[in-house]
């Protein structure tokens, strides 16, 4: 964009370096703490002998619930991602490709937009009462349903953007050739939006994995997810800093994996969701 020469160029690189350090520094410092014994953390030591103690205590010790929390998070994030992709993609296809009354489509999409913007905690109260009533309170199924609902608007809007890029002529041609609507969707349109499915799936997985406010109030000790477990570490009467740091680092692993392998889709998803 700008032409940077001489000192300005150095200044630009300096500013960018400062930005990168500011982002990555805190993460590295906390990673460092996770390899220290409690006493070394409390002393603020920079020279120490590294230990796996915090990780083994969090992941393998008998009194730790954390492995169970990780399992709960994996189940909730995978199942809710799969189901939100199914429901969201079908709805997006319906709204962008099949003839809907303008007002019905607008109301539907408008509502998803509004729902996406209100704080989830406004609905957790009624969810709590409803789930108690039907036996979903403190179950993974209940949390999965909540996460599908929370990620549905984003999935619908993203998939609609991808569907709208498919030329209508391709679908019309298939129809003329005798394809029924189901096959047009399954064999023509769906394969063409695979990048969109990946992008939406990646984001839905991450958002479900990270979600805290709803999981905090709708799960029990046995069904708690990773963020809820981390919050417990921090809220205990005597905060165990080492374990807290180790658990936080472990919880970031999906984000790091995606950063390396799914970056293209993440960027596409995030910027597309915002621009469209």
């Amino acid at each position: 964009m700008l032409v940077l020469k001489g000192p300005t160029r150095w200044l630009a690189y300096l500013v960018l370096a400062a930005g990168v350090v500011a982002i990555i520094g805190p993460f590295l410092w906390v990673a460092l703490q996770s390899f220290k014994y409690e006493i070394a953390i409390l002393q603020g030591a920079w020279i120490f002998s590294p230990t796996w103690f915090n990780y083994s205590d969090v992941l393998y010790s008998h009194r730790s619930d954390f492995p169970g929390n990780v399992w709960n998070s994996v189940v909730v994030a995978s199942v809710s991602t799969f189901l939100v992709l199914v429901a969201g993609t079908l709805a997006a296809y319906s709204l962008s490709r099949l003839r809907w009354n303008k007002w019905i489509a607008r109301t539907f999409l408008g509502w998803t937009l509004i729902f996406n913007m209100i704080p989830p905690l406004t609905l957790v109260g009624p969810w709590y009462l409803i789930f108690r009533e039907v036996g979903l309170y403190e179950t993974l199924t209940g949390l999965i349903l909540a996460h599908i609902t929370l990620n549905l608007p984003m999935t619908i809007w993203m998939m609609m953007a991808y569907f709208s890029e498919i030329p209508k002529e391709i679908e019309d041609a298939a129809r003329v050739d005798g394809c029924n609507r189901i096959d047009v969707f399954r064999r023509i349109s769906l394969p063409l939006v695979t990048p969109g499915l990946i992008a939406a799936g990646v984001l839905a997985f991450v958002f479900s994995w990270n979600e805290f406010a709803v999981a905090l109030n709708l799960t029990s000790r046995a069904t708690a997810t990773v963020p809820v477990a981390i919050a417990r570490f921090a809220q205990q009467y005597e905060v165990q800093y080492g374990q807290m740091a180790a658990a936080s680092i472990v919880s970031t692993i999906p984000a790091l994996i995606l950063m390396f392998f799914g970056q293209r889709f993440v960027v596409q998803g995030l910027t597309m969701g915002a621009v469209k």
Partner: protein
Amino acid sequence: MEEFLTIDAHHTPRYVGAIQFLDRHFKWVTIAPAAVLLILLTIYPIVNLVGMSLSTISFEAAKEIWTFTPAANFRDLRDDDIFRIALWNTFVFAVVAVAVEIVLGLTLAILVASVTRFKGTIRTILIVPILMPPVAIGSMWKLMYSMDFGVLNQIVTTFGLQPINWLGSVSLALFSIVIVDVWHWTPFVFLILFAAVEGLPKEVIEAARIDGARNRELVFKIIIPLLKPAIVVALLFRIILAFKVFDEVFLLTSGGPGTSTEVVSLHLYKVFFQQNQMGYGAMLSLVIIAATIAFLWVGQRAAAAVGAR
């Protein structure tokens, strides 16, 4: 063409009726799962909220007892000073955090688009905070803000200054949370604006440069005006998310010291699940939902006005 014919041919007759039915009503079949979910888990709960907001709900032996007490709930709303404080704190938090994020994000976006090297690396690193669990971010900063051993106070004391009580002082705690939010969300603003900067018409920039525009003029007279729609989008997104803020505050301060970092979502959580006031909590929820819809309406108008220019 042949392929399509064979598809139809291999459905066994038994299913033909069902397939025909699905095909004829495909529009409804495809919208149904999402519609059912939204009705059961968003519309129905909001209808519930209306009923709840006029009642007092108590639990006895795992049974709910609803009493009709609209006046008491309205009185609670009128006398809820903490809600007003929470609204104000959320407003201050959102305005300051989002303003800083936009300025930093825009600076980074223009700079990254201008340098020739490390573009990809910088973008990769900047994505991490967006994808991290907010709770993990909260606990990271809780460690860093520690009065005794946190890295920030280690830096402060190296310069011979007194250690700072980042989260425990009334005047500083909200500001400390703003810093965490800026760390968390500046990369998101950067990502949106970077995509927009890269999409700017190159000819316009070139033409301005040939006409003798310097970098400063290029930024303020050409690039920023052209980026206005993207900036508005980033602004709206961030304000809405900032208004929802909960995880980090819950972890770092839980609203304290006193009420200095009490925010809307946190207050709602406390009313619902710590004070067990399901009825009054529902009334607060409705107020917040109504406010969000009003904001959305105004925001859309504003965005349309900017876009039309």
